[in-house]
Symmetry: C2
Subunit: 263 residues, 2 copies
DNA sequence: ACCTGAACACCGTTCAAGT
DNA sequence: ACCTGAACACCGTTCAAGT
């Protein structure tokens, strides 16, 4: 029984962080009745159409052709529903086996995948920021991330902070991306272009605004006007990531080409 | 005309980012009537008492002894009110003159002050995350921060990302701090201890939980159980900050013997 | 066992009417 | 000029009642 590790994801018992949730409906009934899964699915549909501010229990019920009160047999509350959506984001995502030789690439992949996951549903970053992955289902992901840091050789107290730092960066970056899109959508398209408003225009406006600032007061903002807001978020995302990765690398025992402190 | 820089904070014209706002009430009337400032003040009072989820226009009106509709003469909407609260957070805060010799200390001070500002009102990090400091009033702060990066010698595209990276870190860290306190409050104290619920207990619970995980599946989480959640957030905050600062420092041309100032 | 209907106690925002 | 009162179109959640 010592190889229980290789067995399954081995979801641990609920942590003190999480609230209890009503027991699942045990037997799967006949003609596709409501289920927790269907409620979550409908919630994603509403989210993508209306955004988080338009995501109400009543809208989810309408999406399912059902009364509001019917939802409460399957989810404990709206907060519970949001937590389920947050958790479902990690479905089918595995942190790879930590490889000390490739820890930086593994981290890059992890972060990029995380961003893509958040981009897969509207306002998902806002939902993600409101949660912490310390629930039983998500702890394996945390463990996998910590494994990368520790087997790479990072000191424990650095490894303990690194996961939160990177996750916060991902959430924050995508949150900001979403804000630009929202602004562009609400300024530009009155009725159409709901799906993919080209915020390129807004980026251009902001660049012009920064470039038009008085030179005497805002020399640096003017100088960086072309870089602060760009339409290629992918590059900007990677740069921030590299800053963090280089910071982490500076804590490794021997990495000769970088300024390493002697403590 | 060239020394306009030394004149005043020189608030630039509104950026494309910001929405219009109803014109301020011009003349200050007699007997302390409503004003934008009083509305914001009342909103902070409600926020500190009820939290962001309990902050409603109706509660703010009640705080002022006034009808809800009266508020709309002074703020354009609830979103507008939240933006005013966000902006007011920066009042009386100056980014220091950039000193290339002391850029790391200046950044440390900036970040610590930012965290303290967020901690000064309940749920303030949640409000902060929903905003971007690209409004006319806040651009001087952004400029001051960029000045520190650029005069330190960081490449432009690194400087352009560094501000957002650090701000995101601050917001994210304080957001998480607040979540712990909320959890502790709603688990423990039923009626009393509203102001300062000791979440020390909850931290202990989480540590025990991590330490109790099956060794086979969660070796790293177990090993770091004492570090992941601690009651001294100050240290944890500084560690994340140091990771970022070292990452930034790695982009400087040659700074061989001077790593980040250690505690 | 599962869902409906109705109710409760809230929301943000608007607008005619008062003073 | 400034505020009130009432209304509109929403919320999350609960619970007795139906089938």
């Amino acid at each position: 029984m010592t190889d229980a590790a290789a067995d399954s994801p081995a979801t641990p018992p609920p942590s003190p962080w999480e609230r209890e949730r009503p027991a699942r409906t045990h037997a799967a009934p006949a003609r596709t009745p409501l289920s927790r899964e269907r409620v979550v699915e409908a919630a994603f549909a509403v989210l993508d159409r209306q955004g988080l501010d338009g995501l109400s229990m009543r809208q989810v019920a309408a999406e399912l052709g059902v009364t509001v009160s019917a939802l409460y047999a399957h989810v404990h509350s709206k907060d519970d529903l949001l937590e389920l959506m947050y958790t479902r984001l990690f479905d089918g995502f595995e942190v790879p086996e930590a490889d000390p030789e490739r820890w930086q690439e593994q981290l890059l992949d992890f972060a990029r995948a995380g961003r893509q996951r958040l981009l897969s549903h509207r306002d998902m970053a806002r939902i993600s920021m409101a949660h912490v992955p310390f629930t039983a289902e998500l702890l394996p992901h945390v463990e996998g991330l910590l494994a990368i840091f520790r087997t790479a050789g990072l000191p424990d107290r650095i490894a303990a902070e690194a996961g939160g730092l990177i996750s916060t960066y991902i959430d924050g970056f995508v949150l900001e991306e979403g804000m630009w899109q929202d602004r562009a959508a609400q300024q530009g398209g009155d009725a159409s272009s709901l799906a993919r408003p080209d915020w390129r225009e807004m980026a251009g406006e902001m660049q012009n605004y920064f470039a038009s600032l008085p030179e005497a007061n805002f020399p640096h903002l003017r100088a960086l006007s072309g870089l602060m807001v760009t339409d290629s978020s992918d590059e900007r995302f990677d740069i921030g990531l590299q800053i963090i990765l280089r910071g982490l690398a500076s804590y490794l025992p021997d990495q000769p080409d970088r300024p390493v402190p002697d403590d």
